[in-house]
C-alpha cells in the first residue's frame, strides 16, 4: 500500500472541481487509457487574463486524482503568468508530497497545464514534440529531458518515477542514461558556483552527518571534523576507525570520494594526529 499524505487522501476522496468548465477557453488533454492515467483540464480565462474557473477529469490512481484536484485549486484566481510558473514539484508540495514512484502524477498535471495554456494561446497541440524514447508509454526525449532538468534527476529509476519512461520493457534504459548524462553535462558548470568558506564547511558537515558517519558507525567507527583550510579537510578518526589499519583507505576511498562528489571536486581529506 502506498504511503499517501492526509492531504492526498483528502483530495482523492473529496476531489475539488471535478468535471468540465462550461465555455472553457483553455483545454489541455494528456495521457491515455493505455498508459494507465489521463487528465483533461478545462479552464475559463477571463478578459483580465485571470483564471476564473478550473476543472479536471481524470482516469487514474488516487494520487493522479489528488494531483489534478490540487492543480485546479492552485490555478483558480491566478494570472496566466503565475499559472505558467507552476511546476510539478509545486503540485506535489501542495499535497504535502507524493511517494517518489508517483511523481509522474504531478508531472501529468504540469503537462496538462502546459497543454491548456498553449491551447488558450491558439497554438497547435504540442504533441509528439521530440522523438519517442520509451515506446511502452510513448514518452519523448523532450519530456524526459525536461523532467531531468526541472527535478534534478540522476538515475533511470527516478526518470521512470517522474515520467514512466523505462517502466515497461526496459529496452530504453540505455537511451535514458544517455539523456541524463547529456543534461547533467549541460548543467554541470552552472551547478558549481564557487562556494564561500562558510558554505563549504556547512556542506561538508552535512555530508559527513548524512552520508558518511552513519555507515562508519555501523562498523563501530566514527569521524569528526576538526577544521577546513582551503580545500584541505582535517578530520579525526574515532571509535573503531581510530585503531583500524584500513582507516587510511576508508578516508581516501570513501570519505574523500563522497565529499568530492557531494561538495567540491578538489577536496583533500587529511587525518590529524591523535
Amino acid at each position: 500500500m502506498w504511503e499517501y499524505t492526509d492531504k492526498v487522501k483528502e483530495h482523492f476522496l473529496n476531489p475539488r472541481n471535478a468535471g468540465e468548465v462550461k465555455g472553457a477557453n483553455a483545454v489541455g488533454e494528456v495521457g491515455s487509457m493505455a498508459c494507465g492515467d489521463a487528465l483533461k483540464l478545462t479552464l475559463k480565462v477571463g478578459d483580465n487574463g485571470k483564471i476564473e474557473d478550473a476543472k479536471f477529469q481524470t482516469f487514474g490512481c488516487a494520487s493522479a486524482i489528488a494531483s489534478a484536484s490540487a492543480l485546479t485549486e492552485m490555478l483558480k484566481g491566478k494570472s496566466l503568468q503565475e499559472a505558467e510558473r507552476i511546476t510539478n514539484q509545486d503540485i506535489a508540495d501542495y499535497l504535502g508530497g507524493l511517494p517518489k514512484e508517483k511523481m509522474h502524477c504531478s508531472v501529468l498535471g504540469r503537462q496538462a497545464l502546459e497543454s491548456a495554456l498553449s491551447n488558450y494561446r491558439g497554438e497547435a497541440p504540442k504533441e509528439q514534440e521530440g522523438k519517442i524514447v520509451c515506446e511502452c508509454f510513448g514518452v519523448t526525449d523532450r519530456e524526459i529531458e525536461k523532467a531531468i532538468r526541472e527535478n534534478n534527476l540522476t538515475s533511470v529509476e527516478e526518470v521512470t518515477n517522474y515520467t514512466k519512461a523505462g517502466g515497461g520493457c526496459e529496452s530504453c534504459h540505455d537511451a535514458i542514461r544517455e539523456l541524463i548524462a547529456r543534461v547533467r553535462e549541460e548543467e554541470a558548470p552552472a551547478k558549481r558556483p564557487k562556494l564561500t568558506n562558510i558554505q563549504k564547511i556547512r556542506m561538508i558537515e552535512e555530508t559527513l552527518e548524512r552520508e558518511i558517519r552513519p555507515s562508519l558507525q555501523q562498523d563501530g567507527g566514527d569521524i569528526e571534523l576538526v577544521d577546513v583550510i582551503g580545500n584541505r579537510v582535517l578530520v579525526a578518526s574515532r571509535g573503531a576507525c581510530a585503531v583500524c589499519k584500513a582507516s587510511e583507505l576508508t578516508l581516501t576511498h570513501f570519505v574523500e570520494a563522497k565529499l568530492r562528489e557531494m561538495v567540491w571536486p578538489e577536496l583533500v581529506v587529511e587525518e590529524v594526529p591523535k
Partner: protein, 394 residues
C-alpha cells in the same frame, strides 16, 4: 468499522482451531524435535502427525512431504533441484501467467544460461496445450505450471500436462498454492512429481509451506544444513507452524465441500450482482474452469487503485491488477497475457472469498461498490454519461 475481508488469495486468517493447536508449541512444548530426551521426542511425534495430515489432503505418503518456509521456497527448491539433478539439461517450460516465485526465478535462470519457454494462454485464460506439447524437448529439465491462477482463479489441466511430461521423461512441478483446499487433489493418481503449498493461503500462519516430492524423484536440497526433513531441508523445524499447517490441512479437507457449495454460491451471487449493477464490466477468466472462491472483474474507464482505496473507506479488502497496484507501471502480467485490453486491465478488481465470508458481507459489497465505480466514472475523461462511452486509448 468492520473489516470485510475478500482478499483470501493474498492471505487468509489463521483458523481459530489452528491457533489453538499451535499455542502449546509456542509455550510449554518448546523442545527440539531432534533431541534425545522425551521432552523433544514428543514434539517429533506431533510433527509426524502433522505430516500425515498434510499428505492426506494431497493423496500422498507422509515421507513425500517436506516442510519449508513458504510457497516461494517450495517453488525455488523444486526448480533448482530439477536443474541440479538433471545432468546437463537446461530448459524449463512454464507459463506466461505464473506467480513471481516461479516467473522471476526463471528470468534469473535465463541470465545464468538456462532456456525458458513460457507457454501462452488464450483470452479466457486457458493454457494453449498444443504449444505446451511443442515446447517439451529432450533438453527440458522440468515443467513448472501452476494448478490455479492467483489473479483469475483459472484452473489449468495440470494432471494432463504432467502425464504428457512424464511420457517424455520430464519432471513436472506445480505451484498448487491457490488450488489446495479448494479442489480435490490426489497425487497417487497423478504424474505430478513435485507440488508446492503455502500455509497462509489455507488458514495456517505465514512462514510455513510444503514441498511434495514424489518417492523416487531425484532431489537436491535447496537449504543445506542439518538432517531435518531427512536431509532434504536443513534447519530446525518451525514446530508451531508445522503443527498449525497440519491442522489447517485437516480443516481444508473437511471444508472442501463448503468451498465448492456455499462459498461458490456467494462468489457467484457477488459476481452476478456486480455485473448487473455496473455497466461496462466483465469477468476476466470467466469462460474457463475456475476456483470456487475467486472473481476478477474489470470495470472500464476507471483505475483499480482508486477503486480499492475507496472500498477501503468501507473496510472492504480486495486487490487489483492495475499498474498502480502491481508495483510496476504496467497492469498485471496475467491480464496482459490473456490479451485483456488496457482499458479493462487498469480497472480490474479481484475479490477472493473464504469460508469465513457471509451473505451479509456479500450484500455490503454489492451495495457499496456500484456507487464507487459511478463516482469515479463521473470524472473519468473517457466516460460519457449517456452510456455512449468511447475508449480513445485502445
Amino acid at each position: 468499522m468492520k473489516t470485510i475481508y475478500m482478499d483470501n488469495n493474498a492471505t487468509t486468517r489463521v483458523a481459530p482451531e489452528v491457533l489453538e493447536t499451535m499455542l502449546p508449541f509456542l509455550t510449554d512444548l518448546y523442545g527440539n524435535p531432534s533431541s534425545a530426551y522425551s521432552f523433544g521426542g514428543r514434539v517429533a511425534r506431533n510433527i509426524r502427525e502433522s505430516r500425515e495430515q498434510a499428505s492426506a489432503l494431497l493423496g500422498a505418503s507422509p515421507e513425500e512431504v517436506i516442510f519449508t518456509s513458504c510457497g516461494s521456497e517450495s517453488d525455488n527448491t523444486a526448480i533448482m533441484s530439477a536443474l541440479n539433478t538433471g545432468k546437463d539439461k537446461a530448459h524449463i517450460v512454464t507459463t506466461r501467467v505464473e506467480h513471481p516465485a516461479v516467473k522471476v526465478l526463471c528470468n534469473e535462470l535465463v541470465k545464468r544460461g538456462c532456456r525458458v519457454t513460457e507457454v501462452p494462454v488464450d483470452r479466457k485464460g486457458e493454457l494453449d496445450m498444443d504449444r505446451y506439447k511443442e515446447s517439451l524437448t529432450s533438453d527440458t529439465a522440468i515443467v513448472s505450471i501452476m494448478w490455479a491462477n492467483n489473479e483469475t482463479g483459472v484452473i489449468f489441466p495440470v494432471e494432463e500436462a504432467a502425464q504428457l511430461a512424464r511420457s517424455r521423461g520430464i519432471l513436472f512441478h506445480t505451484d498448487a498454492v491457490q488450488a489446495v483446499g479448494k479442489i480435490p487433489i490426489d497425487l497417487q493418481q497423478s504424474a505430478i512429481d513435485m507440488l508446492s503449498i503455502s500455509g497462509h493461503k489455507l488458514h495456517a500462519p505465514k512462514g510455513i509451506g510444503v514441498l511434495y516430492v514424489r518417492k523416487g524423484t531425484k532431489f537436491s536440497p535447496f537449504l543445506i544444513g542439518g538432517h531435518q526433513e531427512r536431509g532434504r531441508r536443513g534447519g530446525t523445524e518451525n514446530t508451531a507452524s508445522i503443527i498449525g499447517l497440519g491442522k489447517a490441512c485437516e480443516l481444508a479437507a473437511d471444508r472442501m465441500d463448503e468451498e465448492n457449495t456455499r462459498v461458490k454460491s456467494l462468489r457467484d451471487r457477488l459476481e452476478r450482482e456486480l455485473l448487473n449493477r455496473i455497466s461496462h464490466s466483465r469477468v476476466n477468466g470467466g469462460g474457463a474452469p475456475r476456483l470456487p472462491n475467486t472473481t476478477n472483474i474489470s470495470f472500464e474507464f476507471v483505475e483499480g487503485e482508486a477503486i480499492l482505496l475507496r472500498m477501503d473507506e468501507f473496510g472492504i479488502c480486495a486487490s487489483s491488477g492495475s499498474a498502480c497496484t502491481s508495483g510496476s507501471l504496467q497492469p498485471s502480467h496475467v491480464l496482459r497475457a490473456m490479451g485483456v485490453p488496457f482499458t479493462m486491465a487498469h480497472g480490474s478488481v479481484r475479490l477472493s472469498l473464504s469460508v469465513y465470508n457471509t451473505d451479509e458481507e456479500v450484500d455490503e459489497v454489492i451495495d457499496k461498490l456500484p456507487p464507487i465505480i459511478e463516482k469515479l466514472r463521473a470524472f473519468s475523461p473517457f466516460w460519457k454519461p449517456e452510456g455512449q462511452a468511447c475508449a480513445s486509448g485502445t
